[in-house]
Structure formats: structure tokens, C-alpha cells
């Protein structure tokens, strides 16, 4: 099975550490980049792929790769079709 990969966009991270606070398995830590304290992934092996961090992140800086995507059947097809046309 492919391991989950997590990428934090350093330019977008606002250093709130809500991801660290929210994560049930202590995946996130802190690091200093260009004088600013931002979030970093320190323990990716423990990630259970719950996506709580991606949902709480105010700036959309956390991106997941190699995640098994389950289709969401509760979404309205009309809205999905509309959103595909959003820039």
C-alpha cells in the first residue's frame, strides 16, 4: 500500500498551528523558515488520513497525495457540475 504524503505550502502557512492542535496522531511539528515559525510534517507514518488538518487549515496550505479517495455520494450533482466551471 502506498504511504500517504503530506505537503505544507510554506508560503501559504500562517503559523496558527491549528493542524497540530487538531491532529489525533501528532503528525505535525514546528519549524522556522525565514524568521517565521510555521508548521511542518514530522511524523507522516502516523497519519490516519482523517483530513481534519486540511479542513481546519485557514489558508488551505495542507495538501495530501496518494490518498485513497472515496466518492462522496451525498453531494449534489448540480452543484458539482457548477463548481467545475468556477475559476
Amino acid at each position: 500500500m502506498e504511504k500517504i504524503k503530506i505537503k505544507i505550502d510554506e508560503k501559504r502557512c500562517v503559523g496558527c498551528f491549528l493542524c497540530e492542535n487538531e491532529c489525533p496522531t501528532k503528525v505535525f511539528g514546528k519549524k522556522v523558515t525565514q524568521g517565521c515559525e510555521i508548521s511542518s510534517v514530522v511524523n507522516v507514518d502516523d497519519c490516519i488520513g482523517c483530513l481534519s488538518c486540511a479542513y481546519i487549515c485557514p489558508s488551505g496550505a495542507i495538501e495530501f497525495f496518494d490518498l485513497h479517495i472515496v466518492p462522496n455520494f451525498y453531494r449534489e450533482i448540480e452543484i458539482i457540475n457548477k463548481l467545475e466551471k468556477f475559476l
Partner: protein, 302 residues
Amino acid sequence: MTHPRYSISTDWLSGCGGCEVAIVDLDIEGKLAKFLNDYDLVRCPVLMDTKEYPKANLGIITGAIRSKHDRESAKAMRESCDKLIAFGTCAAYGGISGAGYVHSKEEILNAVFQGKENIPKGIPEMEQSPKPADEEVKIDLYLPGCPPHPAYIFDALNNLLKEQPSTSRPMPVCSTCRRIMKKTEVSVLKKYLDGTDDGKTCLLSQGYLCLGSLTMDRCKAPCPQRGIPCIGCGGPTLQIILEPNRDLRTELAERMSRLTNMEKEKIVHEIEASAKTHYAYTMSSQMINRKQTFNIKKWIQQ
């Protein structure tokens, strides 16, 4: 070799005209000359006195549908243009005219004209409820923003006419705001005009209801960076639209309660009490008002 020139037709429905100004603002990005070189404006009510709807490759609709005139104009634009952009939050979500969603046509007319007999003759008949452009005509591309930042306008035009891949990503306003979001000991919820902003810390951490983390960034965060809390004029992020259990008030309360010493319920209550302000730009769109979590009429009565 000469490149093909595309014709653009614009129409202004119920909106403020800021979207037309945004096209002129392409100059900020140094792209106005390129715009005029690549595109022919065949109809633009702000600049020229045109009543007809000439054929065009691209139509730009700004503003919401609030009157019978708006509805007919939108249909005429659809017939005369190959492709149509819902330009700005009003066309995409209903925008500020859409805030009339919470009141009936009669209530609004009575509040404005103080009685039926004072309504001037000859004005276009008002629709029962305001609505975004896509409820009347098929839209090929939505570009929210109030108005959209010039950087995104060129991207939209290239994407639709030249079929170039878009470089814009659906990120929240916080992704371009440079304030530092941190845990504070604030325990009082502040109104927009209360206190003085410190210039560096995130407005949420300071206790202001800033909607930046829930609003799609089509503006490059000019307001929060200058100390004005975001009012969500760019429309909600995909998270709010797509997830049935997630709503503007609960998401904001979730983040704010972790950043400050305020309780989640207190924040939710405050947002519900001033829901007309916080949901003003998007409440007439079915993307928001069909959600089970959205119950503005009940909140207003309370």
C-alpha cells in the same frame, strides 16, 4: 503573423459597476494594453451607448437578476454570445442585491417607496426574489470576486477563449494575507469599529469576525491586510459549498474558539444575530440557501 482577435460584449444587470472598473484596472497588472490588443469590445454600456446585442465570442455578465429587465438582458446576452462568463460575485452568487432574499418583493418596495402609490411609473418590474445569472441562462465560466482582482480576469479570458489551463487555485483569502495567526487571550468579541488593530496579528486572533478563512481568494486580501475584517464578498470556499455539515458560522467559530478564549456557542450566536451581514453576498444562491445548515429566516426572527 497576426493572432485572432476576439470580440467581447458586456452587460450590467443589478450590480454596482465595480466589475467594469476591474476591467480597466487590468492596467495595475500591466495588461490593459494586451487586453485592448487581443480583444474588441463590441458592447459595453459603461463606455458606449449601445442598445442592441451584437454577436460576440464572449459575453461578460455582471450583476444579479433582480428585475424583469435583468432577466431579459441575460437571455439576450446568452443568444448573442458564444460563451458567457458570470463575472463577479453578483452574477455568480447573487451578490449584494441577493441580500433581498430574506424579504418579499412587497416588503422591499414598501420600505423603499413608503407605499405603492409612490412607485414611479416606467421602472422595470421587480422579480419576486433576487437570483444569480445562472438561474436564468447557461453559464460557461464563473469568476467570483467583488470585483475579481485583475490577475484573475486575464486568467479567465485566456481559459475560456484561448483554452489555456487556468493557473488560479481555489484558496481562501488567508492564503494571501500576511498577518500572523496565533493563540491569544482575547475573550471579547469585537465589532468592526471597536478598538484598534495592531497591524500584525490575525484579525481572528484579535477577536474580530474576519471571514478570510471561509472566503475564496479572488482579491489578494486587500482588506484584512489593511485592518478591515473580510466580509466574504468573494463567496465561500469549496469546503463550505460542498460539505453539508459545514457552514460559515460553525467553521469560523471552530477556528476562532481555538485561537482565542471565547466559547464556540458565543461566536455562533453572534454570527446568527448578524446573519444578514455575514451571508449577504451569497444567500440568494441555491448553493447556500438549499443547505440544511442555513436557516436565516429563523435566525432573523430570533
